[in-house]
């Protein structure tokens, strides 16, 4: 029973990582690609780690705290990395793809610029 759950988790993790890779190729701009790279891959890594933890706990009988810590740190670092990359990309001036329908940040920055100039 536990083996079935572990196999499902590992397959799910592999599938999500694959989707992340496909997403990187298919999305039109930097920001879309970041979505694919940071998110699906994060959940993929986490489900594989969960499977590793369950394997060691129930089949080898070892409590492995390191693996749990890995999950915590992936959760902590992924959003920060995504945030920093997106922000610096925008500040450097990478264009949004032409499919985009909305850009509130540009409006806010323009408004601020006008205030500073006047």
């Amino acid at each position: 029973m536990t083996e079935i759950i572990i196999s499902i988790l590992i397959l799910l993790g592999g599938f999500l990582s694959l989707l992340g890779a496909i997403g990187i190729v298919r999305f039109p701009d930097v920001y879309g690609r970041l979505h694919a790279a940071t998110k699906s891959a994060t959940l993929g890594v986490i489900s594989i780690m969960l499977a590793v933890f369950l394997y060691f706990q129930f089949i080898e009988g070892v409590f492995s705290g390191k693996v749990l810590l890995t999950i915590v740190f992936v959760f902590l670092t992924a959003p920060v990395a995504g945030f920093m990359i997106a922000r610096s990309a925008y500040n450097v001036g990478v264009e949004l793809s032409d499919k985009s329908v909305q850009d509130d940040l540009k409006k806010a920055i323009n408004k601020k610029g006008k205030k500073a100039r006047s």
Binding site: F27, S40, K99, S100, V101, K106
Partner: protein, 158 residues
């Protein structure tokens, strides 16, 4: 809050001493007994019963996991659809949260759910700029963030 946890751990240690048994299980039983005592005596303490916050944190974690799964399914649909029919955009999401700590938590949670990625803050920290992979309806999205994550975070911090 810190004082109450200390009190609770102290009660658990007294329980272990009384039982002459220093196993983790006994500590857990002592902790639960202490928790019940604190709950019963909460009116005589000058502060709130701290476990209410712990429950709120657990609620937040479960809400987050649920959102994570739902949003992942959405993104899988988008990635695997033969025609990439998306409307990405950047949305300004106003927030009522006050301290830096809360806003950071909200931004991280937004980033971790697929489909949305927090990109920048306004200078006063009252607005988060969120890049979303698909914006069919701007107002609905802002409302959804307000009703799910922001509400849960407010429950934890107040």
């Amino acid at each position: 809050m810190a004082f109450q946890i200390l009190l609770n751990i102290g009660l658990a240690i007294i329980w272990m001493l009384l039982r002459q048994d220093f196993s983790p299980v006994e500590f857990l039983i002592g902790y639960v007994v202490g928790l019940v005592l604190l709950y019963v005596l909460r009116r005589f303490l000058q502060f709130d019963f701290y476990f209410r916050r712990v429950i709120a944190i657990v609620k937040l974690i479960f809400l987050f996991l649920w959102e994570l799964i739902l949003a992942n399914i959405d993104v899988i649909k988008i990635v695997l659809s033969p025609k990439l029919d998306i409307k990405p955009g950047i949305i300004a999401v106003p927030t009522k949260l006050k301290t830096d700590w809360e806003v950071t938590l909200l931004a991280s949670l937004i980033s971790l759910t697929p489909g949305t990625l927090s990109m920048n803050f306004s200078d006063d920290g009252k607005t988060i700029f969120v890049h979303s992979i698909d914006v069919p309806d701007k107002e609905a999205m802002i409302k959804q963030i307000h009703n799910s994550f922001e509400k849960a975070i407010m429950e934890v911090t107040q």
